[in-house]
Symmetry: C2
Subunit: 279 residues, 2 copies
């Protein structure tokens, strides 16, 4: 396995680094970014928060705009941000911003042409943490978070794999994708027309059925343009009520869908994860 270091920036006494590697689960090169807090300088292993970004994003949006590194440095937590899809001329794509490259939706696609590379679910669940934990002073204690499409991904991965994550959080997640335009478009393409299979990738469906329960925190801006049509946090709340799920969902007056919203509350998310990671 070859891995290439693309950039290194000192940040809050630690390091932000980008890497490119050949992914087995995705069948092409993938890029990710990692923030290693100062505690790792002496080889100390730290837990990691994996961050899944939203539509059109790469590994860079969160690392450049969320302002999370200062809190990760203080708490002693690594941050890992994968890209949001496979990329490249040989990778299937679509003209829409909400399908194809930059819009992997954290599923394992079963339909051609997407099934050749679009396996973001397996990549985030298995390959990326295995790689990170083998290369860096990062322990197997994991938390998961994300924004919008990445909030959907984080909730789905944690709900289906509660043994892998100590906690999960999301900003403005697509909470009920089987029931919104973004989700229906992506799932039709990636998973095919049989909607029964879609429910494995729907946080509201999964939370309603949950037995093992990863603590969950969700922040949703009330001035978010996508709130009513695409995000539907009320469906997640109803699911949590039905299964007595430990979900804390907060509506934030005046906040929108942007990184200005994420930056305003990222410290609370990192402290939430730090508590569950035993930091």
């Amino acid at each position: 396995m070859t891995i290439e270091n693309l950039s290194s920036n000192r940040s809050f006494g630690g390091w932000h680094k980008q890497y490119r590697h050949q992914s087995e689960s995705i069948n092409c090169e993938m890029r990710f970014a990692i923030y290693l807090p100062p505690q790792t300088a002496l080889g100390e292993k730290v837990p990691a928060l994996y961050w899944l970004s939203g539509l059109t994003c790469t590994d860079e949006n969160f690392m450049q705009k969320a302002g999370a590194q200062q809190f990760a440095a203080r708490l002693g937590m690594a941050l890992v941000a994968p890209d949001t899809s496979p990329r490249g001329d040989a990778v299937a794509d679509d003209e829409g911003y909400d399908l194809g490259q930059g819009a992997g939706f954290y599923v394992n696609a079963t339909e051609a042409p997407w099934s050749r590379h679009y396996h973001m679910y397996d990549y985030v669940l298995d390959e990326l943490p295995k790689l990170v934990e083998s290369l860096f002073p990062v322990s197997g204690e994991r938390a998961l978070a994300g924004h919008s499409m990445g909030g959907h991904g984080a909730l789905v991965l944690a709900l289906r794999n509660p043994e892998r994550y100590r906690s999960v959080s999301a900003f403005s997640p697509i909470a009920n994708p089987v029931n919104c335009p973004w989700g229906r478009k992506a799932f039709t393409a990636y998973l095919g027309g049989d909607t029964a299979g879609w429910e494995e990738y729907d946080a509201s469906v999964l939370m309603r059925q949950a037995t093992a329960k990863v603590p969950a925190l969700v922040d949703q801006g009330e001035a978010d343009d996508f709130l009513a049509e695409q995000l539907k946090p009320e469906m997640l709340e109803a699911a949590a009520a039905a299964s007595d799920y430990p979900l804390q969902l907060r509506r934030r007056e005046g906040y929108d869908h942007s990184y200005y919203f994420i930056a305003s509350f990222i410290d609370e998310h990192l402290r939430f994860h730090a508590r569950h990671l035993g930091l």
Copy 2:
């Protein structure tokens, strides 16, 4: 005078807003961004830190990447970020990233074709604060800061107008532009071949002659790729020693020229300005 609100995002209990207006000093439309902290919600007037960005930047880089809003919110300080040059099809430009649009160098250009629009010095010194203080709950207590080309601009404006600013700070400033490739290229184009006029825009020359003295803080990364050839902080240090100038210049081991560096120390810059602004 017409001014158009282009965007509004809630941020740390305050507001980030972008505006476009017809600039008298620049003779075309200009865009700027402002962060209004929560203290202004009730109409309380707050002091402002004006931030000048570096080559290729717009009003957005600082607002999206520096993570300054959280500290501005806590301290009760507005942040104002102008664009780095005039823009548009009718505005002179150059193929290089270091001349023309995105590279105004905070001078008043005297040479054609630049002299028609490139008056960033007047814009930042007079027009922008006048506009901001007339439209928003922002007082006339001002501080000034910037990065790289903007660090040059901040130091020059404060050194030439000590009565206008309480404090000045810079990250990785172009400290002696008459003596580096970026500065010589820009000054030749904007100010002409007579180098005597260039010295009015050189922080190291001005600091050496300074009598009225605005307290200055400079941070410089030691792993900055531009350090030796373009930035030359040692010239600023020598000037400060010669005139007994209140300059604190810190070299930061391992840090580069990026916003990862700025974000790591922006809190110290805001607290420095807050002290001098009486916050």
